[in-house]
Each structure stands twice: as C-alpha cells, then as structure tokens.
C-alpha cells in the first residue's frame, strides 16, 4: 500500500552535528533534528539499559573494591552476559549516533529496527535477572522424580493396619559416678533385654566437631518373636526416644529361632544441657513391630476427606454470602440505573472504584487479613472469599444489568403494570441466565480458591497440603492433591451441566 507522509520540517542541524550530539548524549542529536519523540525514547532506553547494567555489575561483583574491581569480578562470574551487555550497549550508542545523522535528511523516513536491538538487550537482562537456568531442568530432574512419583501415586499411604509392639528395655547409667542400675529380672515368656556393661559414657564431640565414640555396649535379648526384625531404640533421661545409628544405618537385628539376639553398639551422641550433668539413667530398648488386623483407611486419607468436605462447604458458603451482598451492590454499580442524577452518578463511580480495588487484591491476601481479623480456620477463608466474590460478582452482575434490553420493560410498563410487576416480568427473566452463569462460575472459582487459601491459615485442604509438603510427607500430600483434582473435575462437570440447563 502506498503511504504518504506529511511534509516534514527541515532539520536545523547538519548530519555531523547531530551525530556528535548523539555521541555526547544518546538521543540529543535526534532531538536537535526535531525528531523529539524518537530522541526521548532512545535516550530513555539507553539510560535504563545503562542503569540496569550498572546494577547487575554491582550485584555480580559485590565484595570487590571499586567499579573496575566489581566489573572484572562480574565479568569473571558471567563472561557471556557481561560481555554481551557491554558490546550491545556500545553498539547501541554508535547506532544512535548514526541514526541521528540519518534523521537530519529531510523527507526520508527510517524504520524502527533500532528498537529491536533495545528489546533484545532488555530480554537479555530479563533472562539474567530472573536466574533462568534451562540446563537445571534436565540435570536435576532425578531429584524431582522421588517426590513427584510419590505425589502421582500416593495410595500406599492411603491404607494402614493396626500394629502390635513387643518391647523390652534396660536402664544404663551415664557417667562413671553413682551406682549402676539393677539388671532387669529375667522372666519366662516375657521379652527380656540386658546391656553389658550397664554404665558408660555417651559419644561426644571434640572442639573440631569430630565424634569421640562412647562406651561400647553389647545388648542381649531373649524371649522375642523368633526370626523377626527387631529395632533398637534409645530413650534419654527425660524420655525422648530416638533410633540410634551405627555406621549410618538405624540399628536393628533379626532374632534367631529361639527369639534371642545379641547386638553390639556404641553409646550414641546426645546433646546434654550443662545443667543436667551428673547421674543420669538412659534406657535402651528392643522393639518388634508387627502389623495385625485388616486394612483400614490411614490418617492422611481420613483427614483429607474431612478437609475436602470442609473446602467444598467453604466455597459454597462464600458464594452464598457473595450473592446475597453482591446483588444489592450490583444495582448501585449499574450505569443505566444510576445515571439519573449527579448524586447517583457519584455513587456509581464510588461503587465501581471500590469494587475494582477490592477485586484487584487477591483472595490469598484477603485471607491473610481475615486470619488476623477472625483467627485461623475456615471462617477466615470464607470471609476472604466472600469479600473477593462480592467485588467480582458485583461487577459481573452490574454488567448484566447494564446489558438488559429496555424493550420488554417499556412493553410491560405500557400494559399498566406496577413497578414491581415490571421488574418481575421484564427485568428478572432477562437477568436469570447471566446471574446463574456468573454465580456458577464464581462457585467454581471459590472452591478452587479454597483449596489453596488454607496455605495462609484460612482453613480447608490447603492447610493440610502445605503441612504435608513441609514435613516432606509427599505420599500424604499426594492424597490431598488427588482429592483436589477429583473435586475440581467433578465441579467443572457439574457447573457445565447446570449452566446448560439454565442458560
């Protein structure tokens, strides 16, 4: 297509002057050639790129002395990026100067390819600042595989059996002072353990944090279930139990056919507060855990079901409160109802502004505020979702009101109907489809939001999910994820069905 340009003003400076001006201050030459917008834009681009580069150099070269020191350290740390940035900024500088010279020629219009270079530099900075490292996606993939596989197939953790524990313990005196505790009495048909010696020192740390091994102890056990794994546990003076390790592995053994065992161990390291020095009795225990009875739902499964129900109800209640409060507000935010007088127009703009502000704050942030307001738990989540729903539904409803056809209203008025009759016969039927549609849409959003709102303490399954993830219980977390996915899928289907019926 042929394009015509309006005649341009002749440049008051010649090409050389413009080029020199732009070399001094990038963009100044263009301004002198009366291409003021172009000059300002190039100046702004150049300055922001230079500023970004200085910031990155300071960031990468911190701890080094002086600008040149920082620059050389930054270059050392990321040669490609710093090298490219400096080359690009120099090229840009020269190009701007060249461009200034060209802009002095009258009548001709030059393209904007120079801004492509500017964009390229900005994206390079974006890449570097956001620490993008594509290689990591491949190199560390195996790290992700363990939690991911547990989350994808968590059902081993969904069922459990009751356990039966066979246990015996023997006391050990810590330190060389005091009387060693009595050796446990041996009884037929009762599990029995004794330690030899039954006194000694715990492992400790020297100044270089190297372990100084404690006293070697041999444990003798009898009357346990034969041929079964037996774990060794340790209980300190205040009853804290832990499973000591030997050469990095948890101590355990397998009993012989008479139910006896013999295990050698080094007394474990235990941080003992200075105030507790003196005579202390620890206990060493042998424990056989066996599963009995039939399969039953595990605690994570039961908790997940409980909380997913809570989540769905949170979404429902928030939607209900949202509808109740959004309907009257939506009338205030509908232009066609509020345009009759300056006061109502002011109310309209006020309502719209408040709704927009509320809507622009995410439900998660509202939940943080609501938790302070009404305390932890599902009610805080409902408050947060309700606030956001009012704003979102208020806007959607008011737009539905603005969109109604005035024709039927006129027709019903003309029959001699009262105002209320006109609303019931001409307004309400037109509002039902958009109201139902928007409400279901919002219900959908609210249930999905309430699955995450628990992460900030707003109740629902999100609380459980984030807890399991922090405890690295990926299987339990996986159960929660599965339930969320199933719930959202069912919800999608149900809301599509309802919408089809009503609209």
């Amino acid at each position: 297509m042929e394009r015509t340009y309006s005649p341009q003003k002749a440049s008051p400076v010649n090409a050389l002057t413009a080029a020199v001006l732009s070399l001094l201050v990038p963009g100044l030459g263009q301004i002198a050639a009366l291409k003021i917008r172009r000059g300002l834009l190039l100046f702004g681009s150049f300055i922001s790129i230079a500023g970004l580069l200085v910031w990155r150099i300071k960031n990468l070269g911190r701890l080094a002395e002086g600008f040149w020191g920082m620059l050389s350290k930054a270059f050392e740390r990321n040669q490609l990026f710093i090298g490219f940035s400096i080359a690009a900024i120099a090229a840009l500088w020269i190009w701007i100067s060249f461009d200034a010279a060209r802009q002095t020629r009258p009548g001709k219009k030059y393209g904007n390819s120079i801004f492509l270079l500017v964009l390229l530099v900005f994206f390079t900075f974006g890449w570097q600042v956001s620490e993008i490292n594509i290689l990591k996606l491949a190199s560390d993939a195996n790290e992700a595989w363990v939690p991911l596989s547990k989350i994808l197939w968590p059902w081993e953790a969904a069922v459990t059996r009751d356990t039966d524990t066979v246990e015996a313990g023997a006391e050990i005196l810590i330190g060389t002072e005091g009387t060693p505790p009595p050796v446990p009495e041996f009884k037929d048909n009762e599990p029995y353990i004794r330690a030899e010696p039954n006194f000694g020192d715990l492992s400790s740390l020297d100044k270089n944090n190297e372990i100084i091994p404690g006293t070697k102890v041999t444990l003798y056990g009898e009357n346990f279930a034969p041929g079964m794994k037996t774990e060794i546990w340790w209980s300190d003076a205040i009853g804290n139990e832990f499973q000591p390790r030997y050469q990095g592995k948890y101590l355990s053994t397998i009993t012989d056919e008479t139910g006896a065992f013999e295990v050698k161990m080094i007394m474990p390291y235990r941080l003992v507060p200075p105030s507790a020095r003196g005579e202390q009795l620890h206990t060493v225990m042998a424990r056989q855990v066996s599963e009995v009875g039939s399969l039953k739902a595990s605690e994570p499964l039961l908790l997940t079901i409980e909380l997913i129900i809570e989540t769905i109800f949170m979404g429902m209640m928030a939607t209900l409160f949202g509808i109740i409060l959004a309907v009257p507000i939506s009338f205030l935010a509908a232009r066609n109802l509020m345009s009759s007088s300056p006061i109502t127009i002011a109310v309209y703009y006020l309502t719209r502004t408040v709704l927009n502000i509320i809507r622009s704050i995410e439900p998660l942030i509202w939940a943080l505020i609501a938790v302070v307001w009404v305390g932890l738990g599902p009610f805080a989540g409902i408050v947060a979702l309700t606030i956001h729903s009012i704003a979102a539904l208020g806007k959607l409803y008011s737009e539905a009101i603005e969109g109604i056809d005035p024709g039927p209203i006129e027709a019903i008025q003309a029959t001699g109907a009262t105002k209320l009759q006109t609303i019931m016969f001409a307004v309400v039927p037109q509002m039902v489809p958009p109201f139902v549609s928007f409400t279901i849409y919002r219900w959908d959003i609210n249930v999905r939001m309430s699955t995450v709102i628990g992460m900030v303490g707003g109740g629902g399954i999100g609380f459980l999910l984030v807890q399991y993830i922090r405890l690295l219980e990926y299987r339990s977390a996986g159960i929660a994820v599965w339930f969320i996915a199933i719930t959202v899928a069912i919800l999608d289907y149900v809301s599509a069905e309802i919408r089809q019926r009503f609209v």
């Binding site: 029959t415 001699g416 209320l420």
Partner: protein, 262 residues
Amino acid sequence: MLEIKNLTKIYPDGTRALNNISFKVEDGEFLIIIGLSGSGKSTLLRCINRLIDPTEGTIIFDDQDVTAADGSELRLIRRKIGMIFQHFNLVNRSSVLTNVLAGKLGYINPLSSLMHQFPAEARQEALAALKKVGIDDQKHKRADELSGGQRQRVGIARALMQNPRMVLADEPVASLDPVLAHTILGYIEQLNQENHISVICSLHYLDLVQRYATKVIGLKDGEIVYRGSREDIRSMTDEQFKEIYGQEAERVNAGTLSGGIA
C-alpha cells in the same frame, strides 16, 4: 376520544423532538403517522401513554388528562391503551403464554401476579387471543423460538389482553419481511373494525398507508407537515410523499410484494 394540544417534547440534550403538535383522534379511527426516522413518530406515540413525559402540552384521553395523571391513575389509563412495537419487545426467555398474560397485569392483583399466578379467566382469554392471531399451538414455546411474524402476533395478542380502547403501533411491520406486512396490519385492522379499537400507527410504505389509513398525519422534524383524510391519501402523489420524506424517498411497492411471489 384522544385530543392532543400543543404537545412539545425537548430531550435533556436539547433535541426538540416534537414541536407544538395538535390533533384529534375520533372513535374507531385508523390514524397513520408517516415521516422519516427521527421525525418524532416514536416520541409522539410514547408521549400518549407517558412512556416518555412530554415537556409541554396536554393529552386528553377519554375525557381524562393524561399529562396530569400519576401513579395508579396513570396505570389505569395505560391499561386502556395497548401498544405494539417495531422490535416486538417480548420477554425472550418467557413462554408465549406468559408474554400474552403480561398484557393483563394492569387488571390483576399485583401480589399474586408477582408469583406468576393468573386467574383462570385470564388464561382462557390469553388462549382466545392467541387463537385470534392464529398461533395458539405455539403457546408453550419460548418467545425467542418464534419467527419475526409470529412474535409480532404475540405482541398483538398481548395488546388485546388489555381490552384496549386504543392501540398504539410503533412501526409494527418495519422489522418484518414486506410479505408479512399485510398479515400483521390485517390483524390490527381487524381489531379496529371488529372490536372498534382506535389505532394510531406509524408506517413507512405509501402503499400500506393508502390501504389501511382513515386519516394520515405527516411529521417532519417534530412538526406536522401533512394532514389528510382517507380520500386525500388515496390521491396522494409521489411528489407529495417525497415532500414529507425528502427528495431521496422512493415509492416502495410493498403491496405488490405481498400480492405475488412469483
């Protein structure tokens, strides 16, 4: 039965839609208003039942001052004046029957009507009205499932439910195929002749005006520029018609269209 005296309507933006209009409508008349779009036809019709409040002037309907009426008084006047619209103005999502029953709203107890409860006689009457316009078999369909011609018949049935003394028809055939124009206007004429309902109708086609009018008013820029009787309009020439409609107007032969699709 209707007398309009010095009617003027100025919209808030300053547009003078009607300027000092005066005319009378006698019992049983079929008054047709002609004029270009924007000449004030719709405003005039809507001033008569006060869907639009006139700025100045008086409207006397059945010895009652419409311009002074308010509240329930106005509603009682409105229910005696049926109205038919260019775009039908049906409630699309409601059934045909509900749309027709809505014509009875001025007569029945407001409270029970809010729950969509209508007396049995009203239902009988609605079915009769639908039968009269030939679409009683469509009564359970949603209004937006009907064709344009059928929808306008629902509009007529709704107006009929008011037992009106007068019907205002605002370009009732303008959004329909010319073929359907005679069908729809035929029903309106039937109301006029059999039920002795006065009709005020705005139209565009000279052929239709000549066929149905007993009296014609021409509007241009909110003023009456032509008044004619049945005989005057029969002998109206294209030149006179162009004077009202401006130089570009052509005679549109709707009559022959409806007569024969070869």
